[in-house]
């Protein structure tokens, strides 16, 4: 926890990958974490068969964890099939962040995951069970 901000996350927060807005795009979704006001949108471009993610961008404002997690998550998406994206385990993202996230901040870390799910499933989804404690 002590170095949570020092390294990986702060690096992604200061220099986010895939930040922006793709226009045109095939999928778009945005959501927020009402308890802290984090806001995030995601745009995706699919391959011609509409099976795989060809490109992705996110935009938003909020805490370092939500923004860094979006940067980290979007790095993983190019080339992924839509089915794979739908079935993605939120734990994988938490592991990808690489530093332990306390329960109170799980929603920050998983907002990008929720926005992705909204985009690939075509509508809002519930928070993953893991964030129950953070409610």
């Amino acid at each position: 926890m002590d170095n949570l901000y020092r390294d990986f996350i702060l690096e992604h927060y200061r220099n986010p990958h895939n930040k922006g807005y793709l226009d045109p795009h095939d999928l778009h979704f945005e959501d927020s974490n009402p308890t802290c006001g984090d806001e995030l949108s995601m745009t995706l471009v699919l391959d011609p068969e509409h099976q795989h993610i060809a490109d992705v961008a996110f935009d938003g404002r909020g805490c370092a964890i939500s923004q860094a997690s979006a940067s980290i998550l979007t790095d993983e998406l190019r080339g992924m099939s839509l089915d794979e994206a739908r079935e993605m385990d939120p734990k994988a993202l938490l592991e990808g962040i690489g530093v332990p996230i306390g329960p109170a901040r799980l929603k920050c870390a998983l907002l990008s995951y929720k926005v992705l799910q909204g985009a690939v499933r075509g509508g809002e989804t519930a928070w993953p069970e893991a964030v129950d404690l953070a409610l």
Binding site: M1, P34, L133
Partner: protein, 428 residues
């Protein structure tokens, strides 16, 4: 620790839960029972149905909570608060497991069984009960499972009916069938009557009630502390309990309800923590169970409830039941052998928990309690918050001795001797 010893010396009993354990050996775990009471006499505590005493481990768990793990729960972004939240939510998981609930999301922390019933009467009741609807309760209920339904009926124009009792303190099943045939919305009844000791056949009654289209609320305040209870196996829809009756601290209790019922219910009390988003125009509720927990909960009390459950689970609830059953048999035999003592409730030990309610010819129950108190024996006398039971049997009150894990046959002996002494005293 005495618990450890009792469990170990009782190892053969693990396979024979009907044997129980040595309650006297457990007393060392309960500071209030270990110290000499007035006149150098040991305190004989026979009022556990009102509230139980607490083992050292529960008292220590409270201190430990405040000394090492205390902060407000939920939303705190610092280690101490995350630790407190995790321990608070762990208590919820432990309660869920202890009562056989499918999910801890179905366990709502409240102050006591009374608040749990009021929560259902307000939140479920106001949303689902209409004028002309029928609610059924029983004549053996604690006021906590009567008056909220009277209030609900008065406010909504619904009708409230009560299942009558047989002479030996059981629910009159014909009367129940007759009332269920009228298609009530809800049947609210006690697993174990605190005034009579009767154990009701919950599975059967619930099946009948469900067949009649009624939901079932089980008042498990007197069963969860004393016998294995699985709300899943019993099949009920709501169940309520109080921590203070099961070795836990005062100020904490629980409502269990089926997830889909809780999800559909509006909140009861409102404020912090039960909310997703508030604007001046309106409010979005949090998910269950937090939707029903407004404001700062009884944080340390929930943590200490975990220690109470640890203690009971180490004993094993089947053995707790066996233990109390043997005390009941001893007590029932001893008291029915006394002349002029009438015992209430069923004589069958399968239908009777560790609660013996009695009246003595020519001595008012309050006088019995005062005389017993002067002998160092704590029993309850009065209507036990079940006045309709008193009306049913046309008595002003009863004296009640109730047993728990720390009681033993020597307590039954002290009780019997003291009743004899009271009879001599009043006979003059």
């Amino acid at each position: 620790m005495a618990l450890q010893q009792a469990v170990e010396t009782a190892v053969p009993d693990r396979r024979r839960p009907e044997r129980g354990f040595d309650g006297a050996a457990l007393r060392a775990d309960f500071p209030i029972l270990a110290e000499p009471a007035r006149n150098g006499q040991r305190l004989v505590y026979l009022d556990s149905a009102a509230s139980s005493q607490k083992p050292r481990s529960v008292i220590d768990a409270l201190s430990d909570a405040y000394e090492h793990h205390y902060a407000n729960v939920h939303r705190g972004i610092y280690q101490l608060s995350e630790d407190a939240t995790e321990r608070f939510e762990e208590a919820r998981r432990r309660v869920a497991r202890f009562i056989g609930a499918p999910s801890e999301r179905e366990v709502v922390f409240v102050r006591n069984a009374t608040e749990a019933i009021n929560l259902v009467a307000f939140a479920w009741g106001r949303a689902n009960v209409r004028a002309g609807d029928l609610i059924v309760s029983t004549e053996m209920e604690h006021h906590a499972n009567l008056v909220p339904w009277q209030q609900l009926a008065a406010e909504t124009g619904a009708t409230l009916e009560y299942v009558h009792l047989t002479d030996d303190g059981r629910l009159d099943r014909d009367d129940l069938a007759r009332l269920l045939a009228r298609g009530p919305k809800l049947l609210a009844f006690a697993h174990v009557s605190n005034a009579l000791g009767t154990i009701n056949p919950v599975v059967e009654i619930t099946r009948q009630a469900h067949a009649a289209g009624a939901l079932v609320l089980l008042d498990a305040a007197q069963s969860v502390p004393h016998m294995p209870v699985s709300v899943g196996e019993l099949g009920v829809d709501f169940a309520v309990l109080s921590g203070h009756k099961m070795l836990g601290p005062s100020g904490i209790g629980a409502l269990w309800g089926r997830r889909e019922l809780l999800d559909a219910m509006p909140p009861f009390m409102t404020g912090g923590n039960m909310i997703r988003r508030v604007t001046l125009e309106g409010t979005e509720w949090n998910e269950v169970p937090w939707k029903f927990e407004a404001g700062t909960p009884a944080i340390a009390e929930a943590m200490a409830l975990t220690a109470a459950i640890d203690y009971l689970e180490a004993l094993g609830m089947d053995r707790v039941r066996a233990h109390e059953r043997s005390l009941f048999e001893a007590g029932w035999a001893a008291l029915s052998s006394l002349e002029g003592v009438q015992l209430l409730g069923p004589a069958d030990p399968d239908l009777h928990a560790g609660v013996i309610s009695f009246v003595i010819d020519g001595i008012h129950p309050h006088d019995v309690a005062t005389v017993l108190d002067s002998e160092g024996i704590a029993v309850r006398a009065g209507h036990h918050c079940a006045q309709p039971v008193m009306l049913r049997y046309d008595i002003p009150a009863t004296t009640r001795a109730s047993f728990y894990v720390y009681n033993a046959p020597d307590d039954v002996d002290r009780l019997t001797d003291a009743i004899r002494a009271a009879q001599r005293l009043f006979a003059g």
